[in-house]
Symmetry: C2
Subunit: 362 residues, 2 copies
Amino acid sequence: MKHHENESKYLGLNVNKGVETPPTINPYLKSKKKRKKYTVEEYVDEILKGNITVLSQAVTLVESSREDHQELAQAIIEKCLPHAGNSIRVGITGVPGAGKSTSIDSFGVHLCKQGKKLAVLAIDPSSERSKGSILGDKTRMERLSVMESAFIRPSPTAGSLGGVARKTRESIILCEAAGFDYIFVETVGVGQSETAVHSMVDFFLLIQLAGTGDELQGIKRGIMEMADGIVINKADGDNIGKANIAQNHFKNALHLFPPAESGWTPEVLTYSGYYDLRIAEIWDMVDSYIAFVKENGYFDVKRNKQSTYWMYETINERLRNDFYRNEKIEQLMPTLEREVLGNKKSSFIAAKEALDAYYDEM
Amino acid sequence: MKHHENESKYLGLNVNKGVETPPTINPYLKSKKKRKKYTVEEYVDEILKGNITVLSQAVTLVESSREDHQELAQAIIEKCLPHAGNSIRVGITGVPGAGKSTSIDSFGVHLCKQGKKLAVLAIDPSSERSKGSILGDKTRMERLSVMESAFIRPSPTAGSLGGVARKTRESIILCEAAGFDYIFVETVGVGQSETAVHSMVDFFLLIQLAGTGDELQGIKRGIMEMADGIVINKADGDNIGKANIAQNHFKNALHLFPPAESGWTPEVLTYSGYYDLRIAEIWDMVDSYIAFVKENGYFDVKRNKQSTYWMYETINERLRNDFYRNEKIEQLMPTLEREVLGNKKSSFIAAKEALDAYYDEM
């Protein structure tokens, strides 16, 4: 395990420029050379056998921006697709400090002890700047990182949220083909990352801390509506009373929400990631949810929606990117924005002018 | 008032094909001929003078899909823009049966009696099919429709939500140039129309009915978060008790929400549109909100955001429309969607194929 993790972490940092030969002596050079010889079929065969080293190398291809790597990656994904789809995908979010890493460590150990295989992925488009604020530090999941049946992969570091999300979603396919039972997708409680993760998982878990009684104030609008379950961490020792109060607050809040499309009423549980308290209850909840939505058909409805969502989202994102990154448009937009804000042009006239300029050039 | 209303209603039905000469004898033929002679400057002069007949004709140009009408409309809007922006824009929504028309009638009469001028617009993209489910039937606002200082305009009937929203937003500019103090934008509580209205108003008012105690269940997720005020209609006679219970439910629910960006905590009031009870309180609330956000600067922040939002939204919508309405793409997408749902292609490979096909052709 140690081997491929270090490697993928190293490669992750170079991902923008493609996978390069490192400037200094590299203990993993041998395995990299060996990887280059793999054919698509060999990659797929090894992944289907559950070979985690090869899986990790395939994920590195997915994350690479080099064109030959991308071609190879897409060919592997296409062949893995028929074998994908059989995991339970769980999105995990919470503000910094909520104890996500400790919790994932604890959740993961619980599942592995039950004989399950677990892959932990992440979406953190800011990780390039922050040098990987989530999952980058292996020591934060020290028990899970040494388990045979766990695969931990830091967030792809390159590019826009759309790009990072694509890489993570493609990595899910590879992990599923490799036979993982659960796939966690961790994200930070900022920006649009949570929406992206929500759009690729079956169950969305919100980790909260009990605070001063007004913890609801700290939640972004919309995030509670995405949650299938809310779990309040650090419910141990002197903190239990506060956690129970927070639990009631959240329960009341959720009770007042209209029902979710899934028909499922989100549950609120308390636990302690650090002391491994009431972890089983959380995974009983996740399993109950999965059974519930498989029974009522929503499981497949949601997965199908997500597949087409990502197709259309990718198209729409590239249409926008191609437009806004066009040189002429980049020059034009600040002027148009000023004119709109200065009441010189209506929003619609400005839009028309920008589009006319764009299509003229094509 | 009667004159221009009937006319605009008539013209509204023909808006898809442009403004046509009616097949039979038309009492308004004379004024239509006269309108054709107006120059841009004359239109603008009359609108700025508050000439409602000319305003109505200009709105008809905005709604027309004929190219010469559009050119004329855009020229008028551009000249009206510097005189726009001075009204209080109020979005009004609620499910069918909540009593929107009666309420707007009652609200409008209240404001007109205070010496205010009021324009009532609407967004209902379904109105072409339903022959105008909102504002179409004048008799539903019988008191307001005969008031000198009120201008009631049915929803534009042609096209997509984006198209309808554009027309309404442009009509707001014209109405503001004509000196209206309040502009209502009514919408039905379905689909994306509420989001569109929310993106063009200063205050978003949600009309609710007291029911069996579980009225919160009936609200779409997200709509309560958009509301700056919730008003419970039909709080009269035997219904007062139920209305008060509903009021408490909504207050509790709102209390549990995180604070809105405006810093304003939405209020919940009860009233009776039919019996004109506690109408003043509602408009005191709206005025308090406006004073509050003008004081803290959010009023301008929101308006600027809305202006740029509509520019970018219009660009993005047309980029999408041009793509999805492309003949080659129309043929290709069903196949790609099948392949994605059948796990034959990843969402991203399918997206790439579609985009390559599109750009190849251009």
